[in-house]
Symmetry: D2
Subunit: 344 residues, 4 copies
């Protein structure tokens, strides 16, 4: 196939670095531009010695400007920028005719009031909110094909929304009963040079954070509400654990009266039985971070507990792949009409 | 004070090793006997080079027989044995007049039918079940003073029972609403030479296990039911995470109508405000494994979530200390009339 | 290109598992047979859930018999077996006309007396020793092209031999002055279910082992002697560190009088300047495990210390890739006439 | 015994934090003052939640000024400050009559020219250099008893100097032959909020640094030269490994002609056989970080390699205890005439 030029804005964060790793081996694209605020002018291999000897190792970082991306001839731009900055890049790039895949939270929330509630500021480009497509391929594949602006879904939301979506859509569980405990590797905090993320502070440690109103709740509840056809409000507690990569979510919900274990399994099988990147482990299997690390898979296992009546869903993904860069590439593959697994 | 001879049966497991560490610096006791099936005849420092240069480094392991313990003149025996074996030692030692602190599950369950349900075998010494005192000092201090047989509480149960107890006792939360997600360090599995616990299998990994009916549910629900005055059945999901030490539990419950955040805080303050080893972090504080590692503290923080109405309780402890050896020593201190912090 | 059937004997160890990971994406081969003593009859995805959804996930493990491999139509067999067992498989497979790439130590030592000295037993197939080619492509590329039996080099030897080879061959350093300290991730011990490799024993720990006569010295000194044209005897101390993957070697040697820093750099540049999998970081760069993890690269940096006169060479590789499975695939690529990077 | 008031300047770094941990249980002192540039006014338990419920938890950090320390009535001051700052504090505190135990490098180097060579600046208080006593108790116990200013030895130097000292003093090894490879846990870098020490950058990684002229060489060579009676110049390569605590050094040296293995062992036994904090593991034993973690022990094992003739010495210590805070407390115990193990 003909190669398409792509760009990565903010290519020195962990999501950007992972995008580079994946795009190096993607047969459909030419990496035309990588931007960085702090490393403009340096070669990729200087900033990331691990990319020495790879394609693009001599590619130089451009300044962090939309104009640089446009000038590179890129047709698709990945934005791995902080929220706020991403919106500004997206506006400029869309105007210049590029298709944009944003990995930040900027275009995930359709309601500007919810955005302001969770992110503490007015949305920088509210006119783009309705145009954007929420980037979980398993839920929005049709819309992604023609999307100009994709809000690639976040790491926690992907791990929580996918298991719950078919159960809410099928009215199988009580939305008010949902409780989620997740644990994430430290790369989820980004390349954030803060004392909290030092090796000595994270090693041999674990801790909850963002309790009870973590920002990712905004998009999780938006998508669960869309599935349920009613407003869904849940409890969600993220925890930081000492691994580099991975998110594991354990989800509790009460089935509606009369819904049995078989109906739960059937709903999940129907929804994801044909999905290549969602691997159903069934009601006897399990999930582990090591099974999904470095891959674009989301694993889901579940149990019905006859003692309490609840269903327990467990999911695992690599937060940098299915939770970030891999999903973004999967979205691109759909947008470009390529097989969804290309480069993944 | 006069020194009391004590013994440890099963001193080469992780709980036994931790008991040695704590008893080395305990001013009230003389470590008279340590038993081991595999290392009888070896000196403590041969099996554990880290104990070289410490008191007792030349103490030799005895064969794993109750008679060895009796012969040592021990007045108190810690049992760090597998369940089943512990019951048999306890019977013999109690008959010989020793006081026994059992770290296994053998005497934690008062109802032999529940024991059989969760442990898959008939209880080996049912006549002792009613005699034993459940070894959480903060709940059973009075009974511990005169106890001959203490069933020192397990790691998960301690981290879950203590936060919930005052809320159930005060009828502040709906027992049917309780959901618990816990994560444990790998030492919680004991010195278990199995592929699942190899470094390469645990490092950069995390996984749920024992879903939905982990054995510790038996004692957790027994104690929660006692507090609530009614049968309590909960969801509890343990997870293995790559740290050596520590348990972190995140607990969700729905307050009864009319119960506000202040009542939750007040109940916890009333219950534990004067407890030295329970540190309340309040409704703005947090818990982290690193704050409790190598100590006998249990930290508890909590939040009321106005969005869902639930209360979230978070607790952290060192599974080998407050979750095992430290709590056992705390129990001994109470039994012997010593200050509870002695040696801790 | 036409697909060639290949087999992996002993596919459930860490090297075998890594071979599967690499061969899944190798465009030149068809994985026709994987053998296992303990898991015969199970599908690949049952033993390794991470391989679900991949090519070959339904491939069943065969019994650990050379006949199974021959029956599969394999033209090339990788042996990821314990030493001793490997020799017996190799004999049978070579007789059946297969080409064999052995990852064990069985055919690395040309002198049966040295084998016996280091491995404590007579060599099981001495007649094959002279036929085998030592599998470091950068040193034996020409011979590998037509080799029937390749003794793919070990993890420590690769990380030590490659940096030293050009300096010894050029008579730039005193062979008697060589001292090497290496550190290895725990996967280097294989999937060895022993107490020493439990998570709790390896985490927050590091230790030397095999001092002063580790088995890998046999092949290291053999190859260094070949380069130097004289018998070379060195000090080598391996250390276990708490990472899953990676070997880092730090090597000290005294240049011969009159040899300056420039000559050292020139020799390394001449030897490896055109090698794709050896990345020279020069006398100002450095090496880190994270730069080579999951890749087939060996990174080398060096310094001349004017204070002592010594040269310090530092190398890093992934022990499971360039130190095992990756190098084996690189050897296969050469044997089959494919580009050396195929599948890597 | 009567309590002596002590102070810690710079109590929020890792060495300062460890000093607090040790001094909390030291029966001879009263912690009268802890200083901090960034946390003045906060209580100890606010900065370090782990110290809640301990003695001194309500002690407030003072401003980082010598006057604050003097005003506290402290008779002994520990300086856990950056080099440069330490010298300035020391001058002021000595003038005020305090005894000073400095954990920085400021007073370890007797020759101001060497200080300038390694630290890149003129020594800030050269007149104090000759007055200071190098704080390794096993080497300078007599002088420490009356010292006013102690330069408590660093982590790498302690682990390297102690094993080599008796061999050089006894003229058993060739000083020109010494090569040292060490590995350190990340806490050795201090609470240094820099990208290099982030969890994600250190986990699953290892790397050499400071090659070939690490600053600690200055004090190592000074002390080795004093032992040898001649100028000693060595190779020393430190490596960062993913553990929180611990230093492991592997040391190579060539015995002088005629010196046999027995003489090496005898020299070490003579030097340290009676030392409580140096544990000799002999020529068959080994060293591991886990055996010394959280303790003030330095373990030493050794081998004579008949193949090369070299002796290999291996040592392990906790870099925060015997390599920093523990050794400082040991020094204080000697200065105050207390048993050396007090509080350790």
């Amino acid at each position: 196939m003909e190669l398409i030029n792509v760009a990565i804005a903010g290519a020195t964060g962990y999501s950007g670095e992972e995008l580079i790793r994946l795009l190096i081996r993607h047969p459909g694209i030419e990496l035309a531009c990588v931007t960085s605020r702090g490393n403009a002018g340096l070669r990729l291999e200087e900033v990331f010695p691990k990319f020495q000897g790879h394609k693009y190792s001599a590619l130089k970082f451009s300044a962090s400007e939309p104009a640089e991306i446009v000038a590179s001839g890129a047709k698709v731009a990945f934005l791995a920028l902080p929220h706020g900055a991403a919106a500004s890049f997206a506006s400029a790039l869309l105007k210049a005719g590029l298709r944009v895949i944003d990995l930040s939270a900027d275009f995930r929330i359709r309601d500007p009031a919810v955005y302001k509630d969770f992110y503490g500021q007015d949305h920088p480009a509210p006119e783009l909110l309705l145009e954007s497509v929420y980037g979980i391929p398993e839920l929005y594949r049709a819309q992604l094909r023609t999307a100009q602006l994709v809000a690639s879904a976040g790491c926690y939301p992907t791990s929580i929304t996918l298991p719950l979506h078919p159960l809410l859509k099928g009215r199988l569980i009580d939305p008010a009963s949902i409780v989620v405990s997740s644990m994430s590797g430290v790369s989820g905090a980004g390349r954030n040079v803060a004392a909290d993320y030092l090796y000595v502070e994270c090693n041999e440690n674990a801790r909850p954070y963002g309790v009870p109103k973590h920002r990712h709740l905004a998009e999780i509840e938006q998508e669960l509400s869309a599935a349920a056809g009613e407003r869904v409000v849940i409890n969600f507690t993220p925890h930081l654990i000492p691994v580099t990569r991975g998110i594991l979510s354990t989800i509790y919900a009460m089935p509606h009266p009369g819904v049995d274990a078989g109906a739960i399994s059937a709903a999940l099988e129907t929804a994801y039985g044909d999905e290549i990147f969602v691997r159903l482990q069934g009601d006897h299997g399990t999930v582990e971070l090591k099974n999904v690390a470095w891959s674009n898979f989301l694993d889901i296992a579940w149990r019905h507990d006859p003692r309490t009546g609840r269903v327990i869903l467990m999911s695992a993904e690599d937060n940098l792949v299915k939770g970030a860069a891999g999903q973004a590439v999967q979205n691109m593959n759909i947008m470009c009409g390529w097989p969804e697994t290309t480069g993944l």
